[in-house]
């Protein structure tokens, strides 16, 4: 593995230990994945489509459980058995929240208000506090005017804000974000990055799965890279990872792109989301 340098001194928030996972029992979705994340870190999980990023986030959120290996949250291995305990389940769900890639999956309630109130209600927070939390989450994301709207009438950017508000109302310590910039216009993307940076200054942990290289150096202190065989092949700072073009090419995060300027044909690495690295090959 390239550049493995995990934060070993601080107590681990998540420890993923040689995890294998398969949806159908044959094709691996995760193949011997190990990583360690401490509280307050900003982590990016980089990988091309279908490399296993979303699956890893679902394992970290206790929605799937490893076929072999272990995922530990603050030392407790995540399994169906531990989630049968109301005490653990309530504490975990209050602390760790996943924002799904597809907002149409995340927003299942008939109105925005109900969506934002859903999580605190399920976790037995008193009615008055639920109302206060919903009001605060809507205000923080500046979507009070959408409270009575139905999700299917909202724009992509509005849906993303509502999805974040639906998690913010819980006040999680750990945010798992799955491809958060997908389908967002530039203004919404910029707003989302500001949101992550603002929340991370108060000690919240952000684990973001993405293949958008443009945002990695802003939203992450440390990066894990998946290759197309569903293994983690590198770990490092954003600068180290983004400057390793061979690694990015191998993991299908950039591709060689040739074009012509007059008589000059040149090629350079080209990111999936417009990565700007530019080298003249000829």
């Amino acid at each position: 593995m390239v550049g493995m340098r995990q934060n070993g001194s601080a107590p681990a928030l998540f420890e993923v230990d040689n995890v294998h996972f398969s949806y159908d029992g044959r094709q691996p979705a995760l193949d011997g994945v190990s990583l360690r994340i401490t509280a307050g870190e900003k982590i990016a999980i980089l990988g091309s489509n279908g490399s296993g990023k979303s699956t890893l986030l679902k394992l970290l959120d206790g929605l799937y459980f490893p076929t072999s290996g272990a995922v530990r949250y603050r030392g407790t291995p995540l399994s169906e058995t531990v989630f049968n305990s109301d005490d653990f389940s309530f504490a975990f769900r209050r602390a760790v929240s996943l924002v799904f890639q597809d907002t149409d999956v995340q927003l299942f309630s008939p109105t925005v208000w109900e969506e934002v109130a859903f999580a605190p209600l399920q976790l037995d927070i008193p009615d008055d506090e639920v109302r206060a939390r919903v009001a605060k989450a809507l205000a923080t994301l500046r979507i009070e005017h959408l409270a009575e709207r139905t999700p299917h009438r909202l724009s992509g950017g509005e849906k993303r804000r509502v999805a974040l508000a639906s998690v913010l109302s819980l006040g999680p310590d750990v945010w798992l974000l799955d491809e958060p910039t997908t389908g967002l216009d530039p203004r919404s993307q910029s707003w989302l990055i500001d949101f992550i940076l603002e929340r991370s200054t108060v000690g919240e942990t952000f684990i973001t799965a993405t293949h958008d290289l443009d945002i990695v150096s802003i939203i992450a202190d440390r990066v894990y890279v998946f290759d197309e065989t569903h293994k983690i092949v590198a770990e490092g700072t954003p600068a180290e990872i983004l400057s390793n073009h061979a690694l990015l090419l191998q993991c299908n995060l950039i591709h060689e792109h040739s074009h012509r300027h007059g008589e000059l044909v040149h090629s350079h690495p080209h990111g999936h989301e417009g990565h700007a690295a530019h080298e003249h090959a000829a």
């Binding site: 799904f100 999956v105 927003l107 309630s109 399920q122 639920v130 139905t150």
Partner: protein
């Protein structure tokens, strides 16, 4: 020119989406009924619907229909569209049932119009009266139901059903059904449009059937996958099989006055229109 299955499906989906948009726009108008607590509308309209079922006097029934039109008018519902929406669809359903009632072999009585002497077939006065009653009763009931849905956002109406002690889990499922019907409508519309954009000329009937069945299969697969993802999204936010919901309704003096007024009108109609 006859339209293909794909074109008809596209038109149907578009119309459904347009109607829902029309209903949502009206529900946001600052009309008399829109500003009421949804529980008041639910109880008041339920009382009027019961009155329509119990009334046996044609003029009281006509008065109740006129009351529905007045309620629609003060709620800024476009009357022409409202009346058309109810009365254009009604003959297909109620008309089929009402037609036999007109004739002497179902409702014997004084002949109003003799159609044949041998065998004797006539529309009777009693038959015409019974058919008019049936159509007016159904028309008024449907008008009340349509008006209630037009002046109340569907999601709010579902929450108001709590007042009738409808189980929370049932309301949660209904709410999600409402939410995802539109998503699947849009998805199916996109799928048909994508197919339509690649078709030159008319498709054979067999190909059209194949398109429809393929789309149905795809849609079923998509909705199944999505249902699992939605369940994960619920689990992720603490759902443990015991849903808890919260409404934000607040009754004001005006709401109480309207509730009392609508229920009183219903009771008066039943008293005046009794046998």
């Amino acid at each position: 020119m006859a339209r293909s299955v794909v074109e008809r499906t596209l038109a149907g989906v578009t119309e459904s989406l347009e109607q829902s948009l029309f209903a949502e726009e009206i529900a946001r108008e600052p009309g008399a009924l829109q500003s009421l607590d949804p529980r008041v509308k639910l109880i008041g309209f339920l009382a009027l619907l019961l009155a329509v079922s119990f009334v046996h006097n044609l003029w009281v029934l006509v008065s109740l229909y006129c009351l529905t039109l007045i309620l629609a008018w003060i709620s800024r519902v476009p009357l022409d569209r409202f009346v058309k929406r109810v009365w254009l669809a009604l003959p297909f359903f109620t008309g089929m049932v009402a037609i036999p009632v007109l004739f002497n072999f179902v409702t014997p009585g004084n002949p109003l119009l003799v159609l044949s002497n041998s065998p004797y077939i006539a529309i009777t006065e009693q038959g015409a009266r019974a058919a008019a009653f049936l159509i007016l009763r159904v028309g008024t009931s449907v008008s009340l139901a349509v008006l209630l849905v037009l002046v109340t956002p569907w999601a709010t109406l579902l929450r108001a059903l709590n007042v009738l002690k409808v189980p929370t889990l049932f309301l949660l499922v209904l709410g999600m059904t409402y939410r995802y019907i539109y998503l699947l409508l849009r998805t199916s519309s996109d799928m048909f449009l994508a197919r339509q954009s690649r078709v030159v000329g008319r498709m054979k009937a067999a190909d059209q059937r194949r398109v429809v069945t393929n789309t149905m299969g795809n849609l079923l697969g998509k909705s199944y996958d999505m249902s699992q993802e939605v369940y994960f999204a619920m689990l992720s936010r603490g759902y443990r099989g015991r849903p808890r919901t919260l409404d934000q309704f607040q009754m004001k003096p005006r709401d109480w006055a309207w509730a009392a007024g609508l229920v009183t009108l219903a009771v008066v109609a039943v008293i005046l229109g009794g046998r």
